[in-house]
């Protein structure tokens, strides 16, 4: 019913959207894989990051791409502090408490943003969103292409960090065997906080890449949370490669589902995949077998 060119373009669109999803999911999967917590504050933190991008542009004249580095660092510190001084101490190592604490944080952040910025939907000024790259018959949004590329680079860097660096080894050690790691002199609290910080830094990067083509309001992050969870599950909780591939797969599924079934029911596809993966292969595509 649709010409192959349209379907192909939908797939490319899906890949580009999926790359952005993957970035959001990267932070989530890392935090889940290491801390074994479902971070409910993820969406609100993404919203925070998006407001930060907006503020950088409007207040300091720093464009979204130039903001990647400073905001990445800033959100790493923010995430570190949140885990080290709020989530860690107040959850007493109980999953259900972590759940409530992250939920509490999301309520606080979301409404603090609401109080500070009102509920208006805002966008970055300028017509950066209209830049296109012509590829045959396809008109591809330049900011989204850039986003796609940066997402791949970030995923690769993260993978390298985990696989090669000392910090990465420590993170993996803590993820696998908390007490064992402690015995060899790793402070799990520090590592947890570092992990959470990296997760938040991923969000900051995602925000920088999303904003040129998206909008921001105090609730916008929620739109990405459920889909990010789906990706994390699909890719296997804790797997960086899984999050990347999962993000791309979900992006394409959503895109084709939207094209063929309509945007609303297309969402159904995502959740059905989610449920089926959980029921049939709960470790995901790339997760270690439990």
């Amino acid at each position: 019913m649709y010409s192959p060119a349209i379907v192909a373009e939908a797939m490319v669109n899906g890949l580009m959207t999926g790359a952005a999803y993957a970035l959001v999911a990267l932070g989530l999967t890392l935090v889940y894989g290491v801390l074994h917590i479902v971070n409910f504050a993820h969406g609100a933190l993404l919203t925070c990051a998006m407001f930060a991008v907006l503020g950088m542009e409007q207040g300091l004249g720093i464009g979204p791409y130039a903001a990647i580095l400073p905001l990445g660092v800033l959100f790493f510190l923010l995430g570190y502090a949140l885990q080290r001084y709020v989530i860690g101490p107040s959850s007493h190592g109980e999953d259900r408490n972590t759940l409530l604490v992250t939920l509490g944080i999301s309520i606080v952040l979301e409404n603090a943003l609401l109080a500070a910025f009102r509920s208006d939907t805002r966008t970055l000024g300028g017509d950066m969103g209209f830049d296109v790259v012509e590829l045959g018959p396809m008109l591809l949004s330049r900011p989204r292409l850039v986003g796609c590329a940066v997402a791949l680079v970030v995923a690769a860097l993260l993978w390298l960090l985990l696989a090669r660096s000392d910090t990465g080894r420590a993170i993996r050690a803590v993820a696998k065997e908390r007490f064992g790691a402690q015995v060899v002199g790793i402070d799990p609290r520090h590592i947890f906080a570092v992990t959470f910080g990296i997760g938040c830094a991923c969000l900051a990067v995602a925000a920088c890449l999303l904003l040129p083509t998206f909008y921001v309001n105090p609730r916008v992050g929620n739109a990405f949370v459920l889909v990010a969870f789906t990706i994390v599950v699909l890719g296997g909780m804790g797997s960086v490669v899984g999050a990347l591939v999962g993000g791309l797969v979900i992006g394409v599924v959503e895109s084709l589902g939207g094209l063929l079934l309509g945007e609303s029911l297309g969402q159904l596809g995502i959740f059905l995949i989610f449920i089926l993966v959980l029921l049939l292969r709960p470790t995901g595509l790339f997760g270690a077998r439990a």
């Binding site: 889940y32 074994h36 479902v38 709020v86 101490p89 107040s90 959850s91 007493h92 109980e94 999953d95 259900r96 408490n97 759940l99 409530l100 604490v101 939920l103 509490g104 944080i105 999301s106 309520i107 606080v108 979301e110 409404n111 603090a112 943003l113 609401l114 109080a115 009102r118 509920s119 105090p218 459920l226 969870f229 789906t230 599950v233 909780m237 609303s264 029911l265 969402q267 159904l268 959740f271 059905l272 989610f274 449920i275 959980l278 029921l279 049939l280 709960p282």
Partner: protein, 318 residues
């Protein structure tokens, strides 16, 4: 059951039942809203508190109860009381189906939490798109106060209806707490393998728990529909309801008979207080609410009922 075990429950519910004698409608309305959540949280608590299966998707059960009651009345002209009973039954069925699928697949912990969340979302999208649920326009139950229609002219009627349900569920929870099923359920929560070795049918135990949980939370959904007389997909199946139920149960004290009731009242009360204090700047009241929630978890990790128990023990020790 010893009378001593019953006392706190009866005292609390008795006191609440007497509020219409002196309280304003504002307070009664507040109580009805909070207690509907309390009832739903009792359902959540049976599965999450006693059974250790933390669901993020109890909206699936709440919404099924609510929609069933509404649809049966509006589209099929069923009597409201019958619709109430059917709503409970269908919510229990929904619980059993979700449980059967996920527990058969051996989903636990975060995995179970996420799959329930997804089930609730699927139902929300379907209810929003389907015709017989009224689609996005939702369903309006006709305002016809009268006992036969399960609608009350005064708020007290709703209050007593909810309290009656809470009492029944409270007694049932107490009975479970003191019996074989409760012991096995708690054993499953604490250690599935050990429970299995002791002859506990883990799957059946979990299924019983989620089915009962569905019936209870579904009843809360039915009462919600009868009270507000309007439903749409994001009210019935929205994430907010799952979150409210689990917060109420956890804050109140997991695996305790009174926890969900105390938790729901405390949280709703807190919400009203912060709103009253700081309502002038939109959003700030919820910021305070969030901070208090975090502080509560930090300083009262075992829930309010646990804290009360400790206080009483300290008092007794003196």
């Amino acid at each position: 059951m010893k009378p001593r075990d019953l006392l706190p429950l009866l005292l609390l519910l008795g006191a609440l039942a007497l509020t219409p004698l002196f309280a304003s409608n504002l307070l009664l309305n507040f109580l009805v809203s909070a207690l509907i959540i309390a009832l739903g949280a009792q359902g959540w608590n049976l599965l999450g508190g006693y059974g250790g299966q933390l669901s993020f998707g109890h909206a699936a059960l709440f919404g099924t109860g609510a929609y069933a009651t509404a649809i049966l009345q509006v589209k099929f002209g069923l009597n409201a009381w019958l619709a109430f009973a059917c709503g409970i039954a269908l919510a229990a069925l929904a619980g059993w189906i979700i449980g059967y699928l996920s527990f058969r697949a051996r989903l636990r912990g975060s995995y179970f939490a996420l799959v329930t969340l997804a089930f609730a979302e699927v139902l929300r999208i379907l209810a929003n798109a389907a015709d017989f649920t009224g689609g996005a326009a939702g369903l309006l139950i006709k305002l016809q106060p009268g006992l036969a229609n399960f609608q009350f002219a005064s708020r007290a009627g709703y209050l007593w209806a909810v309290l009656a349900c809470i009492l029944v569920v409270g007694l049932m929870t107490l009975w479970i707490d003191r019996g074989r099923f409760g012991a096995q359920l708690v054993a499953v929560r604490e250690n599935e393998d050990a429970a299995r070795a002791l002859g506990v049918d883990v799957l059946a135990t979990k299924l019983r728990a989620i089915t009962l949980s569905g019936a209870i939370t579904g009843a809360a959904g039915c009462l919600y529909a009868q009270n507000f007389l309007y439903l749409d997909a994001s009210i019935a199946y929205g994430t907010w309801i799952s979150v409210e139920l689990l917060i109420a149960a956890i804050v109140g004290g997991l695996g305790t008979v009174l926890g969900p009731v105390i938790g729901a009242l405390a949280l709703h009360g807190l919400g009203e207080v912060t709103k009253g204090l700081l309502g002038w700047l939109t959003g700030i009241d919820l910021v305070l609410f969030g901070i208090i929630l975090i502080a509560a978890v930090a300083f009262v990790p075992s829930g309010l009922v646990g804290a009360l128990r400790r206080l009483r023990m300290r008092g007794a020790a003196r």
